[in-house]
Symmetry: C2
């Protein structure tokens, strides 16, 4: 089976690495960045780096680029066959769903692998990124059974767990569980860097601050795009979080220590959800 | 050398475990919670569990209880010798520094090991918690050289890196780098649990949300105390963070995508501080 990957960074490169372990797949890739093309080939993420036109001539074509890029590239395809399955891996889904041209809608599968790190680029790709992680497949009623089955099979090959929902629900859930935490991490990192010197940050940051600021190292280009495409859900989640934080602040300000402890106790319930 | 530990949870228990590996130390402990006393002994955190009176009869006495407890216990000592070094391990320092009775001030060393996890209790203690971590020693001018040297030696024995500052500076820095991140994590956990069902949280939380919400599992009793004792610094840091988050929100609301990307780029500088 011939696999094409557009975008050879962490997401696309890790797919290439994982699939290349099996002899059933030949993986070709394209990236508009020349350095990325070179790094991807040299690090074995793909069997071959090809042109934008040639990468479309495959059985399954992954779009592993930022969400704005996906929408742009949808208008540029010029060498697709009708039986090629196109799978986008963007972090938001509604805007992409709306932008898919009618003539390729049936062969297009919207997917979001819940995997990634704060790193980006071909050198951050690794085998095993997807193992045991969830992939969300959206709006499957709009793709044909043939292409859905193919998508499900290839994600199973990557050892992923499948979840299905519509693209609007996806964007709403991920605003809370993924996009809001990123914006908070960026804001925390900036607050601390504006107030504290690097020496103190390095000396005093135990695991807590390191964890809370890890996402702040994420790619600005990618997260600007995600914020743009999931703007309304994201704004709602930020506003709700602001109120929650304000209520913690009020308990501290008004020295209502029992109330504060109750709120912390409520937060502890996460133990029961995420072991 | 005889070591006493008051409080046999994660912090005190891990000290016991580490020091017991060397034959030079005999470790005795006390905890006012009966179950903790039993668990601590059964899991080898101490050589012996003793009474509150007997635990004071040692060369070095560690106070490994929440900060309010430390201040309370300072008034209850009734069996201390003049050459016993007392080391508190609380997460805030100014209020404790003020509460130390004059007659034991010279033998008291204020320390804050920058180590811990979201877990608590004797069963969460582990050998290696302190290795290569920073310990902050405060107001050393107020303790005698003999006791300071002893404290430095015992932390070196635990393979910790020593940093010195005054207690007010400590509380200010830790508000930003440790206490603020905790309050944010509690608030994020509550926001998401109020808005999302457990199934979605479990399915969609990749590493990002897990990291950002880990601190929300921390002990409410301990973090209520810390918030109380570092109230003013903490309030200042929350307010500054609120402004920073509001500025991210405004860029998203007003669709100022370049501005948003600039702020994310600024956050990326953390790469240079925390590798």
């Amino acid at each position: 089976m011939k696999i094409g990957i557009i975008g050879l960074g962490l997401i696309g490169g890790s797919i290439g690495l994982s699939l290349r372990k099996s002899e059933s797949y030949r993986v070709i890739g394209y990236d508009r960045n020349e350095i990325h093309r070179k790094e991807a080939y040299e690090n074995g993420l793909v069997d071959e780096v090809v042109s934008f036109q040639d990468v479309q001539d495959v059985d399954i074509l992954f779009l592993a680029i930022p969400v704005d890029g996906i929408i742009a590239v949808l208008k540029e395809f010029d060498n697709l066959k009708k039986d090629t399955t196109i799978i986008d891996l963007g972090s938001t889904k509604s805007d992409i769903a709306k932008a898919i041209p009618k003539n390729i809608r049936e062969q297009f599968v919207l997917a979001h692998p819940m995997a990634g790190t704060e790193k980006s680029g071909p050198l951050s790709a690794f085998n095993g990124l997807y193992k045991d992680r969830v992939v969300v497949l959206c709006d499957l009623q709009d793709s044909s059974d043939f292409h859905n089955r193919r998508a499900e099979n290839i994600f199973s090959e990557l050892k992923m767990k499948l979840t299905k929902m519509d693209s609007d629900a996806h964007d709403c859930h991920t605003a809370w569980i993924s996009h809001l935490p990123h914006i908070i991490s960026f804001s925390l990192a900036n607050s601390v860097m504006k107030q504290e010197d690097p020496r103190s940050i390095l000396d005093l940051s135990a695991g807590g601050f390191r964890d809370m600021s890890r996402l702040a190292k994420s790619s600005p280009a990618m997260w600007k795009d995600i914020s743009k495409q999931n703007r309304e859900n994201l704004l709602k989640s930020i506003e709700f979080f602001e109120q929650e934080l304000a209520s913690f602040k009020e308990s501290i300000r008004d020295e209502q220590w029992d109330k504060l402890q109750d709120k912390m106790q409520f937060a502890n319930r996460l133990h029961d959800i995420l072991k």
